[in-house]
């Protein structure tokens, strides 16, 4: 194996092609923004854009977790109910802690919430991998379980933070800002940055993509497939918990409708962001962009007077399909 050096192997100069593919969701977003601005000048006001950015935080954070699960070839339908369950438990814990409301109380409750999230994810992961059941079914099952637990905890009503002082202390986590940037936005940027780092720069991330690409190859390469899969669900659980940390201070309550259909939104954000449902790819920033697209579409619908309230769902559905069409045709062209 000597004479090989003749083969001159060019460095990967073809970055441009990949870039355009990854850029597709951002371009779709830009088009939407222009469209929105044309419909209603208020749309591009700083206040509105900050509202939209802040609101998309929950879905964006959850969808970042979903990117891991989907990249490894899994699926998690339980995230919405899981969010409600974590929120409910967290509030009950805060209500139960008593004592003077301090930052410490909140911090402790936050830690517990993260723990619960990780455990919920672990449950999904273990049942999926150890039981070798389709994740669709497992997480559909846990979706029902978490939702029922919330209803049970709330006795059908709602679970609200009782201590108004604590509530006031916690409120800024949603409504506050740092140098004008709302805290939820900072949180989701941080989560996305960490996630991108983990997915692209660490061994675990590489393993996630390998498992999603071809499970057999991953197994033959000595990758602990079950553990990697399980961990993606734990990551998902943690992300849901982080989303909840930002969610609870907004309305200070969890109800049986909290997080309804968030799973579909999260998965949609992931797919619009360019991650394929069959696994093997994962685009964290695309996912964030996807979440923004969803939120912007909703925002435009309300701000414009184009369609009756009855038909909003139809237009939203159509816009999402069209956005995907545009994106696909763009990434195919190059």
């Amino acid at each position: 194996m000597t004479h090989a050096s003749e083969t001159t192997v060019p460095r990967p100069g073809g970055g441009f092609r990949i870039d355009l593919k990854a850029a597709a969701p951002f371009i779709a977003l830009a088009v939407l923004l222009v469209f929105g601005a044309l419909l209603n000048p208020n749309f591009v006001s700083a206040a509105n854009l900050l509202n939209v950015l802040t609101r998309c935080a929950f879905i964006a954070i959850i969808a970042v977790g979903a990117t891991f699960v989907i990249a490894s070839g899994g699926l998690d339908l339980s995230v919405g109910s899981m969010a409600a369950f974590i929120a409910g438990s967290m509030i009950l814990i805060m209500n139960g802690m008593g004592g003077d409301p301090t930052i410490g109380t909140i911090a402790l409750a936050m830690l517990i919430a993260l723990g619960i999230g990780a455990l919920c994810g672990l449950a999904n992961g273990v049942v999926t991998t150890a039981g070798r059941i389709e994740p669709f079914i497992v997480t559909l099952g846990t979706m029902g379980i978490f939702r029922a637990l919330v209803i049970w905890l709330a006795e059908g009503g709602s679970i609200a933070m009782k201590d108004q002082e604590l509530r006031a202390l916690y409120r800024p986590v949603y409504f506050g800002n740092v140098f004008g940037i709302p805290i939820p936005v900072l949180v989701f940027l941080a989560v996305a940055a960490i996630a991108a780092f983990v997915l692209y720069k660490t061994r675990f991330g590489r393993h996630v993509l390998a498992v999603g690409s071809n499970e057999e190859v991953a197994r033959y390469s000595g990758i602990p497939v079950g553990r990697v899969r399980t961990l993606t669900y734990v990551v998902q659980g943690l992300c849901v918990a982080v989303a909840v940390l930002v969610y609870v201070p907004r309305l200070g309550a969890a109800t049986p409708t909290t997080g309804l259909l968030w799973e579909l939104q999260a998965i949609t954000a992931v797919v619009i962001g360019g991650t394929a449902l069959r696994g093997g790819t994962g685009r964290v920033w695309g996912t964030v962009c996807g979440a923004l697209i969803l939120e912007v579409v909703g925002n435009i619908m309300v701000l414009s007077d184009l369609v009756s309230e009855y038909l909003i769902g139809a237009v939203q559905g159509a816009i999402i399909i069209v956005a995907m069409l545009v994106q696909r045709s763009m990434s195919r062209r190059t």
């Binding site: 509105n48 059908g156 009503g157 409504f175 309305l251 109800t255 409708t257 309230e309």
Partner: protein, 292 residues
């Protein structure tokens, strides 16, 4: 009193605040009635949608029941299934939503959805006289439509203009979002009607965040305890509430049981008012232990 009687209660699942309250009151009343009448057995079943409620009705009557108390998801859909229960000789009590064929129900305990809309509309007309309001609707189902229709009829002809209306799905989160966007879209809003207290929570939060002061008040509905408390405390943003008590299910169960055991005549209609809760009468409607 030893007569053994089975009463079935079929209600919507606790999927948001108000239905949660219904389930809560039904469970409480079940315990109370079973204690009061030793021979009475109450089977309580919740269903997430109309079709599954039809299923539940079949299952309940298959077990052999003497009376049925039901709060149907939807009048049109459940008329036939309830008719089938009735045909097997069961005493039928319908709560809140009248069936399309009123001859089926032996007893009707009405919460009167149009009344809720009408009362809210009348208040708007009286308080505001004229101005711009936004409406946040519930889910696209019949109840919502009845309330909105009655509301619109009530403000008809006054100077009140509905700038915008959107579905908030009886969810705090969705109402928060919709209100944020309304605030962006409309530079001046005088009042908000949001039809349900759960949504009012989200609306208030959005208004508070925007720091706007043009909104004079928010009218919710259904009598959630936090909201009643605010009315009681004289919160200017929540001057009134329109009562729509989930405890009407308990009223219906109570009346039905009384009819079965006490030989008192209960057939007919029992219309609950949708009274306007104001600072003056709020204490009457405040139940701190209720989950709703």
């Amino acid at each position: 009193q030893e007569k053994s009687v089975t009463m079935a209660v079929s209600i919507p699942a606790a999927d948001h605040g108000w239905t949660g309250g219904v389930v809560y009151h039904a469970e409480r009343e079940k315990a109370a009635l079973e204690a009061r009448y030793p021979g009475l057995k109450i089977i309580l079943k919740t269903s997430p949608d109309g079709a599954s409620q039809a299923n539940a009705l079949e299952d309940l009557s298959a077990q052999g029941i003497d009376a049925l108390v039901t709060l149907p998801h939807n009048s049109d859909e459940l008329t036939d299934p309830v008719r089938r229960v009735k045909e097997s000789g069961v005493f039928v009590t319908v709560v809140d939503r009248a069936l399309s064929d009123p001859t089926i129900q032996d007893l009707y305990v009405a919460g009167n959805n149009p009344e809720l809309g009408r009362v809210a509309g009348e208040y708007m007309k009286k308080e505001l006289g004229q101005g711009d309001i936004v409406v946040i609707r519930g889910l696209p189902i019949v109840i919502d439509e009845q309330r909105v229709t009655a509301f619109n009829a009530a403000i008809e002809g006054s100077g009140i203009k509905v700038l915008d209306s959107q579905y908030g799905n009886w969810s705090r989160d969705d109402a928060f979002k919709v209100m944020q966007d309304f605030l962006t879209k409309h530079p001046k809003i005088d009042a908000v009607w949001c039809q349900d207290d759960d949504m009012a929570v989200g609306v208030l939060e959005a208004i508070q965040q925007s720091g706007r002061s043009d909104i004079k008040f928010v009218v919710g509905g259904a009598g959630m305890k936090d909201m009643i408390k605010r009315v009681m405390d004289g919160d200017p943003m929540i001057p009134v509430n329109v009562l729509y008590p989930p405890s009407m299910i308990a009223t219906a169960m109570d009346l039905t049981a009384a009819g079965l055991y006490d030989q008192v005549p209960v057939r007919g209609s029992y219309i609950l008012a949708a009274p306007l809760v104001t600072k003056d009468n709020a204490a009457e409607y405040y139940f701190p232990d209720s989950p709703f």
